[in-house]
């Protein structure tokens, strides 16, 4: 038991790295995903195709590869090449990757809104931008909460991939201690940490769903 207590400090430090990556990724990829979704449904064929290709590439290859690429290979790419430190490289890879997933969720949400809503807004004189902002997107939020909740919980666990850049997130710290002390207890404690994080997220999303349940479609 004392041993478990002694683990809490280092594991908590790992958790802060995990949480930092989690929150920054979320803050970047949600708006980026929304922009991508709007471009994706744009009538300009070329833009829509380009965004589609981007989403396909990001969802078709492992995030770990994307991270390794941005960290190690990107500096040698001409023009856009830039040498990023480890944590920023991880953040960029995570944000670009999750933006692609969120974009698909947003797109499906926007397209699930009945044509009648656009027509109802149109005959009242609202412009396309006003219709999106005031009528469509507020309704989209309610509908995308379940897939967003799934994706966000996946993100918590995906953060552990940053071990490839030797960043000490929760899981890597746990593995480090396992190697130092030669016991698997830290894994069990780490699992509990993850469960707590996902529980909190689940709870937050449930509250949001409840809030939006005040109206039905």
């Amino acid at each position: 038991m004392d041993y478990v207590l002694s683990l809490l400090g280092p594991l908590w430090q790992g958790t802060t790295v995990t949480l930092k990556l989690f929150f920054i990724t979320l803050a970047l990829s949600v708006p980026l995903g929304l922009v991508l979704a709007l471009l994706r449904i744009s009538r300009l064929r070329s833009i829509s195709t380009a965004v589609n290709g981007y989403i396909w590439l990001m969802r078709g290859t492992p995030l770990m590869l994307q991270m390794l690429f941005i960290y190690f290979a990107l500096p040698f790419v001409p023009v856009v090449g830039i040498k990023l430190p480890d944590f920023p490289a991880a953040v960029v890879a995570f944000a670009l990757n999750y933006a692609a997933y969120f974009a698909e969720i947003f797109r499906a949400g926007i397209q699930s809104i009945n044509k009648g809503q656009y027509e109802g807004a149109r005959v009242l004189g609202l412009t396309y931008a006003q219709t999106m902002r005031r009528i469509v997107l507020p309704q989209v939020i309610k509908r995308i909460l379940p897939p967003m909740s799934n994706e966000t919980i996946t993100l918590v666990k995906d953060t552990s991939l940053i071990y490839v850049l030797a960043l000490n997130d929760l899981l890597r710290v746990a593995r480090g201690i396992v190697q130092r002390d030669f016991t698997t207890t830290p894994f069990i404690v780490a699992a509990a940490f993850y469960l707590i994080m996902t529980l909190v997220l689940t709870w937050i999303f449930q509250r949001m769903e409840k809030r939006y349940a005040r109206y039905d479609d």
Binding site: K83, P85, D86, F87, P88, A166, R172, V173, R180, F182
Partner: protein
């Protein structure tokens, strides 16, 4: 303290002459690892600190994924590899080495009650190593033995391999002797080290090949530390005897 913070800043600065960035695997006891307070400690850490003081530069320790060490060095994110880095011919092609500061064997660890006693007994057995470690090259160099093995399994780290040895799915693990002894000390009743080994080898400090200036300075500092006994003192702290050569 916490080494990630300054590390990220350092990488965005141009190679600062007043600071040396040391890349290491922070899960590599006893050479470099984290203590209960999550602080980086270890034999190589102390050695590098001492050398830095002598060179009059700040030292910064930067955990890297060990299997990506060449890429890290190559990309200039770190200046020095100092973490039980074995000098091998392959590595010499990409890495500039100081002269050796320590001798090491690629030790063979088996379960305490194992019938295996020599390298030859490994025929038909499953052997584990750490991916990207010099143990891989050491074992593969002895082609007949490698060919006779049932399987050579490459694990992400030594502990996974040792745990698999405990679980009985492996018959032996080959790893750096200094590291192996550290673990065996923790579970003396479970493992033993064979007399036989996969060759002696030497640890050196590595830099980028073109960074000859830093290499020369490190060489100088290391020699001075060996001569005035400070290296021996650090060794006694960690291993109970002087194994620096």
């Amino acid at each position: 303290g916490n080494n990630e913070q300054p590390a990220t800043e350092a990488a965005s600065q141009p190679a600062a002459a007043r600071k040396v960035v040391v890349g290491l695997d922070d899960n590599f006891p006893p050479m470099g690892f984290r203590d209960e307070q999550n602080k980086l400690v270890g034999f190589d850490i102390d050695l590098a600190r001492e050398a830095a003081t002598r060179l009059g530069v700040d030292v910064e320790f930067r955990p890297i994924e060990w299997s990506a060490k060449e890429a890290e060095l190559n990309s200039g994110r770190i200046d020095v590899l100092w973490n039980g880095l074995t000098i091998t011919e392959e590595r010499k092609q990409h890495i500039g080495f100081t002269s050796p500061y320590m001798e090491n064997h690629q030790a063979i660890v088996v379960a305490a009650n194992s019938p295996i006693n020599t390298k030859a007994d490994l025929a038909g057995k499953v052997v584990g190593v750490q991916e990207g470690s010099s143990a891989v090259q050491a074992v593969e160099k002895e082609a007949e033995i490698t060919a006779a093995l049932k399987e050579l399994k490459k694990f992400g780290d030594n502990v996974t391999a040792l745990m698999d040895l405990s679980a009985g799915r492996l018959d032996a693990v080959v790893l750096d002797e200094v590291v192996g002894r550290y673990y065996i000390a923790k579970r003396a009743d479970e493992y033993r080290v064979l007399e036989d080994h996969f060759g002696a080898e030497e640890y050196g400090v590595g830099t980028a090949k073109e960074n000859t200036e830093l290499l020369a300075k490190l060489e100088e500092a290391l020699n001075a530390m060996k001569q005035d006994g400070s290296a021996a003192r650090i060794s006694e702290q960690w291993f109970g005897k002087n194994i620096v050569k």
